[in-house]
């Protein structure tokens, strides 16, 4: 088994050995469930619209909460020294931790599949946008976990790491909400930088390489900066 997967497996079992993962995923399900069922019962229509429109914001909050411990905790307890003096690359360490963080968030998303499935049992469901929506959420989650890990390499304090990642995520999420107040040319730029804008594109069911490129660049840049920060810890 590759070292990356070994590290990912260790991190995943660390998540499920502590109450933190259950609390974070549980809270995520609670709120996303509320978003879904409130439209079902209040508006009387079975629709995923409000679920998909607000879940990216939930991820902006919950992904950093999942990612915050990944490196900070090793810095605090000193185990990073134990890990990185074994023959393992910094890239493998970060990649393994990323896979673990993404698995936890993805397992939360997986459970929300209950909502579209419940709709499908009572009526007709257009699966196109649902698949697009989930693909978009997964991409959002990946990028946000990347940002969370990057912030986690910056501090031995998990809370500090969480707040930093939350702030970065919120700014990225807000970009396309403020285009109204700025000149159109700047508005286009902000839109392109916005996490939510690209999500809406994908959730429409149209897969455009520009949207994919956005999430992949965001992820790669964060992971690259995370590796860099790890390396600087040695200097």
């Amino acid at each position: 088994m590759s070292k990356t997967l070994t590290i990912a497996r260790r991190e995943i079992s660390a998540y499920f050995n502590s109450p933190m993962a259950y609390i974070v995923v549980g809270a995520f399900l609670l709120i996303s469930g509320y978003l879904y069922f409130s439209t079902v019962f209040l508006a009387g229509t079975a629709s995923l619209r409000s679920f998909f429109s607000l879940t990216p914001l939930l991820l902006v909050i919950f992904a950093p909460a999942v990612a915050m411990r990944l490196v900070s905790e090793e810095l605090r307890s000193g185990t990073l020294e134990l890990l990185t003096t074994m023959p393992v690359r910094d890239e493998e360490v970060i990649a393994g931790k990323f896979l673990a963080g993404l698995s936890v968030v993805a397992s939360g998303l997986l459970m929300t599949l209950a909502y579209p499935l419940s709709i499908a049992t009572v009526g007709d469901l257009d699966w196109g946008p649902v698949i697009g929506g989930y693909l978009g959420l997964l991409l959002c989650a990946a990028a946000l976990i990347g940002i969370g890990i990057m912030a986690s390499t910056w501090s031995r304090n998990q809370i500090t790491a969480f707040i930093l990642a939350l702030m970065i995520g919120l700014v990225l999420w807000l970009f396309d909400k403020v285009t109204f107040f700025v000149p159109a040319s700047l508005g286009r730029v902000l839109e392109y930088l916005s996490i939510d804008f690209h999500f809406r594109n994908i959730a429409r069911g149209v897969i455009d390489t520009r949207d994919l490129l956005y999430y992949f660049s965001l992820l790669l840049i964060s992971l690259f900066l995370a590796v860099l920060a790890l390396r600087r810890r040695h200097a």
């Binding site: 070292k3 307890s77 185990t79 134990l82 003096t85 074994m86 023959p87 200097a235």
Partner: protein
Amino acid sequence: MDSAMIEVRELVKDYGRTRALRGIDFSVPRGQIVGFLGPNGAGKTTTMKIITGYLEATSGQALVRGLPVEEHPLETRAHIGYLPENAPLYEDMMVQEFLDFVADIRQIPAAQRRQRFRLMTEVCGIGDVLSKNIGELSKGFRQRVGLAHAMIHDPEILILDEPTSGLDPNQIAEIRKLIRELGREKTLILSTHILPEVQATCDRVIIISDGKLVADDTVQGLMTGDGARIQVLVAPRGESPLEMEKVVESLQKPDSVRSVSVVGEKEDGLAVDVLSDAAVDARRDIFEAAIAADLALLEMQRQSVSLEETFRRLTMEDGGEHV
């Protein structure tokens, strides 16, 4: 061919504005056990972290089996087993889980695992705690798990930062025995504050103080290089009471005696320490000198200077400013 397993050259390390290492040089051949001594903050841990590749030197180089650590991090780490100071461990894992994890990262072939695990369980005495959470272990057991982690891949080089700290006397004795056994084929550097440990286990002692190397010698060399001490108890032979100056003066006469100092007055006489050159036995000369000065020699005992004294002299010399 370079036969040194570990070599450091002009190692300098700055932490921000603090200079922790000010040019350290030494090399360790295969099969040697080196005791790494120095007062708190001397730079022992820093040197070890550079050799294991956790920290980069500000200038200078560390080589493991002839390879510079910075350019060949993976190859050099594969040959090293490292126990960091205070044995940081994944507290959320069980001991067995943790060792499995280490074996996976170290890519120990499946065929050898069983035997390596059995050996580690035995020599580190962790058989009873394999299914315990590391977070719940006592300090000594954590230390043992850390040792198992360092040795599980049967490395050629072991770097142990205060390996016996927190262990009980039985375990200390066992670890020392283990270190001596390992030292037959492996290369070891171990830091410690327990000087008898060095005497018991090490072939060679490196003492650093304030980031500089102040001694690099065998244990024997360090203890005798400084001369031998002879404890003497003298009393007057006649009625007249002892005069301290006279005693000191007369015992100082022989050529083999370097210095004489009065330790204190006892009920039955005067206790005096006589320092002599290491190479000669000054006891005869002292005996003759005492007779000549009309002194009764009640007791005389020759001792080599303890490692502790040498350590104190070497590390407190230049002001010994410690943090």
